[in-house]
Amino acid sequence: MHSSLWLTVLVWLPLLGAAAALLARRRPGAPYAVAVATASVELALSLVVAVLYNDHLAGAHTFDFVGRWVLAAPFGLAYDVGIDGISLLLVVLTALVVLLALLGARERRSEAAFVGWLLMLTTFTMGSFVARDLLEFFIFFELTLVPSYFLVAHWGGAQRSRAALKFFVYTFAGSAFLFTGLLYLGFLHQHQAGGSLTFADAALASTSMSHATAVWLFVAFAIAFGVKSPIWPLHTWSPLAYAEAPTAGSMELSALLAKLGSYGLLRFAVGLLPLALTTVRPYMLTLAVIGIIYGSALAASTPDLKRLVAYSSLAQMGFVTLGIMTGSTIATTGAVLLMFNHGVITAGLFLLIGYIERRRGTATIADLRGMQGPAPVLAGLFTVVMLASIGLPGLSGFISEFLVLVGAFATHAWWAVVATIGVVLAAVYLLWAYQRVFHGQARDVDQIPDVTHRERWVIAPIVAIVVVLGVFPKPVLDRVTPTAHQFVESVTPAGVNK
């Protein structure tokens, strides 16, 4: 057991950094330097936490770094943190993506407000992932909306206000269901257990309820998390928001905020309402599979690279949902790993699309052509990240997708088979896009310089992770699997074959 102080620093350090960046706004370059320094320390800390979690491995199915303080008893408000194998990866992902987002978006994005919002978003995201209390999670979860709204609305593309508004409305409407649901659950628990109101996960999990109640609560939760994740058909805000957001914003939205949705679905919808699973499972699996096929089909016909990644994310998150809802150890482990891998890969894709935009001023596929000749290194980097997204074995995307499908097939063969078709479609839309962007002959070759040294170093960690986790994922899986196994045990009624 380690001190919860580690997590507290992880959560609040970026907020301090944001404040420092705002204070230093008069000096040119200072806010950016402060932000990069903060994000670097944050990443280092998250890695230390990941390493320290190591000697917790014997008990890796439980939480580490635990601490709980009740802040306002009458409202059931508490600050309760801890991490297990499910949240560990997402904590590291949060720190990694924010640093890369900062580094990848230097020009004209270095204003104090921009880096301030970005760091603030980190605090809220981090808080969501380490929260062990539903209300606390909800507060962090909701607060992420504020910085991400401003990141899109102020620094986005031509349609930024519409995109930000749509994103805001969708997410906020979804949250209403979650809020209602969590209040109901909290009061129900208080009614049963007596004492003061509490939203601690462990306590809520013991609430007994009728099957119908569980289903209704599950639906409420699933709507909120389904918007964020996104799950088909609640995804329509995402192509617009991803396309209009600045590179750093797209990275945050797709790589991190989407994970809040799937994480919430796993931890709270499935974790707290296992009673509902027998009823909702076929529906959720069907939505996941529809998302895979539908997202892939639209990714193939969309004219814009960023929208393409948005639709591809819909498909990828469909695999995550498939794994979560299958609910076996293999599938759940795969889903958790896929959340991380998708985060890294999507961050990489958006970063590289940012590089392309920087050179050509557009992400419209039809206006890009023949970039491989003048920019072979950029083409090579894009290829590696793209192949990871396609799920090429040997790169990171494969193992997570494979685990999800193997797990899903054992109990829900037909869903898994249809989802496997998504594997073909991923190759279709990505290779086709690659061909139109990089192959052929460029019209204005002199306008396409290859990647700079700096750009190369920013993308390097992503390429390294993609390769290393593809070849040797064992250290990561050793941390995730026991938790996933324990989690699956806890939500599976006795006597049911897993």
Partner: protein, 623 residues
């Protein structure tokens, strides 16, 4: 165990990494030497591994390197299975690869991406060896997809040519369709047998129901049709000829495209459980062999003829697998690797001599200008046509004898294919090397020149192998033959072992007569012709309109559906229905855009009020 077999695998990987990371400043000679040397050494270690295996009693050695992943009972190691089948594959893969690497030094000389070519080529060899040496299906899949992506890169090697870029993509996508089959086979095997490693699968295969076994076999067959270019997924291979010729020889003739045959042979114990599955395999193979041979008769591009010929020959191999004659399939695979690599490299030499010309109508009379290419090509032509004593005769004979024992209709189809094979190859031979000289326009009047030694040495070595290769499995020798060596892997001797000598001789006579028929027909028709609408049917030239049919029935409808999704379903239906709440808001938002913060405040207030009502209701109800 630190086994030599790991070195077979690691050397091409090392070559790939060295050329990728440090090759930028190196000369062509250095890059070519590293790439070829790595693969050559890999061949040496394959030989060492082979000798080592011969000296052991156990014919199956598992070499575990590390655990790849181990989740909830799904344990997958990066481990090698060294057994007669995998060693045979490793020997011929590394041997042929080394020769083609050497050839490429000459063929790719002066190319702008010389380094990248060898990077891809070494990675390909590593992937191919992973495929054949893996001890479990998941690791085989790594190699399986790895060779697919290398093939994609190498087909699209001249990426600024749109046709090459499209062909590369097509190759990968068709392969991926097949991969769904391999994935499903893995899912099913794991869900029933709880393992993916070959030896354990074979041990437990008896517990599979016959339905499950059939589904597994058909799924594997789907995978094989993608990778090995069989009906219905064969039509990517001719397009793949857009790649440089050494690539066509190595990947799209000798090695990668035979991976499907290897996979099915490897899974022989599972195939044995499904008679109907095997019958499907045999029919697919026989029909593909025939269809592709008809198409090859009407192609004008020298490489396209060879490409369809490859499809057809692999059809024979698949037919043999379906008939249960696994060692015959492997025998033909090896013999085919020799003579087809030789044919491709020879045609590369021709193309090289004619400054890139591939149309046979602009060739002719090249025999006297290419003193080494001509005789080696001649040997390969006789071998593929099935003339004794060349390797092709023995290998094809082995397949057809087994087909005869398995099913008479498939045997007849096989013999017809043999006639066509001799015919289209002779047509190619006559149009290229004999007749009038039609190339002067292409070469601007110059005489074509023979290729440098790095290109001709591989030709000579392959010609020797093509001539003598048959000795590895002569029908009257049962010990110290390929079939005998492979016997422990496949478990039982093929059907020919039971055929009488008289029947075998009779069938061999039929084969020779078929070959001579094809030869005679081709010479009488093409001796004085360059093109002929009668003998080059446009239906055949257009590949039985296979691509058009796919485009009309699958490609275009799907594209249209996706477009409808993008323009109608997404913005109108989903956004309309799901956004019923947001829809009203969005309309008002048009007016409210100037006062966004005001809007947000209103919305938040409405939210809080709404939630409060719900909360009050709930509290009242619960309390």
């Amino acid at each position: 165990m630190a086994h030599v077999s790991t070195l077979i695998l690691l050397l091409p990987l090392a070559g790939f990494l060295v050329i990728l990371l440090f090759g930028r400043g190196l000369s062509e000679r250095a890059i070519g030497s590293i790439g070829t040397g790595a693969v050559g050494l890999s061949f040496v270690f394959s030989v060492v591994t082979y000798l080592d295996l011969l000296s052991r009693n156990a014919r199956e050695v598992t070499v575990t390197m590390f655990t790849w992943f181990d989740v909830g009972g799904l344990h997958v190691s990066a481990a090698l299975l060294v057994d007669p089948l995998s060693v045979t594959m490793a020997l011929f893969v590394t041997g042929i690869s080394a020769l083609i690497h050497l050839y490429s030094i000459g063929y790719m000389h002066g190319d702008r991406d010389f380094r990248k070519f060898f990077v891809y080529l070494n990675l390909f060899v590593f992937s191919m060896l992973t495929l054949v040496l893996a001890n479990n299906l998941a690791l085989t899949f790594v190699g399986w997809e790895g060779v697919g992506v290398c093939s994609y890169w190498l087909v699209a090697y001249y990426y600024d040519r749109d046709s090459a870029a499209t062909a590369g993509k097509k190759a990968f996508v068709y392969n991926r369709i097949g991969d769904v089959g391999l994935l499903v086979a893995m899912f099913l095997l794991f869900s029933r047998l709880h393992t993916l490693s070959y030896l354990t699968i074979f041990n437990r295969a008896g517990t599979l129901t016959s339905v499950a076994a059939t589904v597994v076999v058909l799924s594997l067959l789907l995978g094989a049709t993608g990778k090995s270019a069989q009906i219905p997924l064969f039509n990517w291979l001719p397009d793949a000829m857009e790649g440089p010729t050494p690539v066509s020889a190595l990947i799209h003739a000798a090695t990668m495209v035979t991976a499907g045959v290897y996979l099915l042979a490897r899974m022989a114990p599972v195939l044995a459980l499904s008679t109907s599955g095997r019958a499907t395999v045999a029919v697919i193979g026989g029909v593909t062999a025939f269809v592709a041979a008809t198409i090859a008769t009407s192609q004008r591009d020298i490489k396209k003829v060879l490409a369809f010929s490859t499809v057809s020959q692999i059809g024979y191999m698949i037919l043999a697998v379906g008939a249960g004659a696994y060692s015959a399939a492997i025998f033909l695979m090896i013999a085919h690797a020799f003579f087809k690599a030789l044919l491709f490299l020879g045609s590369g030499s021709v193309i090289h001599a004619l400054d890139g010309e591939q149309d046979m109508r602009k060739m002719g009379g090249l025999a006297r200008f290419l003193p080494l290419t001509f005789p080696t090509f001649l040997i390969a032509w006789l071998a593929i046509s099935g003339i004794p004593p060349f390797a092709g005769f023995w290998a094809k004979g082995d397949v057809l004898t087994n087909a005869y024992a398995y099913s008479k209709p498939l045997w007849i189809l096989g013999v017809l294919t043999a006639i066509l094979t001799a015919y289209y190859m002779s047509r190619l031979f006559v149009l290229t090397f004999r007749g009038t000289e039609r190339f002067r326009e292409v070469t601007h009047g110059h005489d074509p020149h023979e290729s440098p030694w790095v290109m001709t040495v591989p030709l000579v070595i392959l010609a020797v192998l093509t001539t003598l290769g048959g000795v590895i499995d002569l029908p009257w020798i049962h010990h110290n033959s390929l079939a005998g060596f492979l016997d422990p892997t496949f478990g039982y001797l093929p059907l020919t072992a039971h055929a009488s000598t008289g029947a075998q001789v009779g069938l061999a006579v039929v084969d020779v007569v078929a070959a001579l028929l094809g030869l005679a027909a081709a010479f009488s028709i093409w001796r004085n012709r360059v093109s002929s609408p009668t003998y080059e049917r446009s239906f055949l030239e257009r590949v039985w309109r296979w691509d058009d049919a796919y485009d009309a029935t699958i490609g275009r409808p799907l594209t249209r559906a996706a477009q409808i999704g993008d323009t109608v379903i997404e913005p109108r239906i989903i956004d309309g229905a799901v956004g019923a709440v947001a829809g009203g808001v969005r309309r008002s938002a048009e007016g409210l855009r100037k006062a966004q913060s005001g809007f947000a405040r209103h919305y938040a207030l409405a939210m809080v009020l709404g939630v409060s009502v719900v909360v009050v209701y709930l509290v009242a109800r619960v309390g």
